[in-house]
Symmetry: C2
Subunit: 236 residues, 2 copies
């Protein structure tokens, strides 16, 4: 966990759609109090119930947002680059509803919540971007919830594989980006069940060897998975 020289990141940050439109003066105001940090995997960044002192931005890697109650834990969603998380808590100056931990080695920017709120009021373009981002976050959670409530674990896996296949250049074969126990958690199932689910997808042309996946006939798998832009497209 090392603290970076921050100035080097200015251009990268500035390019994020959240910051690209705003006035220079306001951008610098945000950057003055901000910093960037590299975290190893599995580090807990925030804990639910705490007050929201910083807006977090995932620059690289990925972050698991999860919640606990009565000794149980569940993964709520995953934050990918480049996106903010706990934006809603920052805006409302309310306690975090979720905890966050890095899934892999990740680069995170932190901006004091107070500054975000101040600049929001001062810079209309920033306000517009914040709102757009918040709306996107909202829609992501809704999609995740639909995925979970409307699909069986097998269907979730099938759609996850289709998504991964697309992301990795639409080749027939590709490597899983995470260890299986993590994928299981992301899909809301146990590792045991994931193992069985892979076998259950064999009739649809899915074969797995270690972390390498092969999809024999994409259309065949799609017929089973029934991907839906209102659940699976991260863009819409």
């Amino acid at each position: 966990m090392r603290l970076d020289l921050f100035e080097a990141d200015y251009p990268d940050i500035r390019e994020l759609h959240l910051f690209s439109e705003m006035a220079d003066a306001q951008f610098m105001k945000l950057m003055r109090g901000a910093y960037v940090q590299n975290f190893p995997p599995r580090i807990e960044l925030i804990t639910e119930g705490d007050s929201s002192d910083f807006l977090h931005i995932v620059l690289s890697g990925s972050v698991d947002l999860f919640s606990t109650w009565n000794g149980r834990e569940t993964s709520m969603s995953t934050a990918w680059p480049v996106s903010t998380f706990i934006l809603a808590a920052t805006i409302r100056d309310a306690p975090y509803l979720m905890s966050a931990r890095t899934l892999e080695k990740s680069r995170i920017a932190l901006i004091p919540s107070r500054d975000v709120r101040a600049v929001f009021d001062a810079d209309q373009r920033f306000a517009r971007a914040i709102v757009s981002d918040l709306a996107q976050c909202y829609r992501s959670v809704v999609k995740a919830q639909k995925n979970l409530k409307l699909r069986s674990s097998l269907e979730r896996l099938a759609n996850y594989l289709l998504q991964q296949q697309k992301q990795s250049g639409s080749a027939k074969g590709f490597d899983l980006r995470f260890e299986k126990r993590r994928i299981a958690s992301m899909l809301g199932m146990t590792p045991e069940n994931l193992s069985r689910a892979f076998k259950a997808l064999r009739p649809y042309g899915v074969s797995i060897d270690g972390s390498h996946v092969r999809i024999a006939d994409l259309e065949d798998l799609k017929r089973f998975a029934k991907p839906d832009p209102l659940i699976d497209d991260s863009a819409t």
Copy 2:
């Protein structure tokens, strides 16, 4: 389903926190294109996938937000007065992710999405209010998801009863506000299971007669339900 004379509603709408702070001119601009309508129960107001032409505001009654996939349907959340819904779709000018139908007789205001986006850019106070509302919507969905993923159906019912008891003036006895099949759907369970769940709560002092609920010992039920402000408080 009757169309109301709209001018009579101006003062009511104006008092909503979403509109209370904004400039008069901008408010009138929004109102010009808007209208208010009374809907009977179970009317479908919007359908997922459609483009978001109107921002909806629940003035009275309640609205069920639900989604479908592959012939299945699930209730996602409930919108109560006074709150907006499909705000995120309006902001991003993206298709609805959820459908909406009235649960009971409801009074709904509709404002053209185009106007909302225009006034958002023109009135900073309105922008602030929109963002605050959107953040609240987001947090509501997160809480709903936590409730669903972390609790058993029995625990959800117990917490629902505690919530209702509080809302109805903290008396020992109170009436359920909806028919049971609707409550079952809201809690993500079947009517059959709800029926059994009520019986299963008897050891914790819950008795039910028709739609009347009695809670013998609040502390007893709380020990089982373990209410959590990060799930059950609508305010935080």
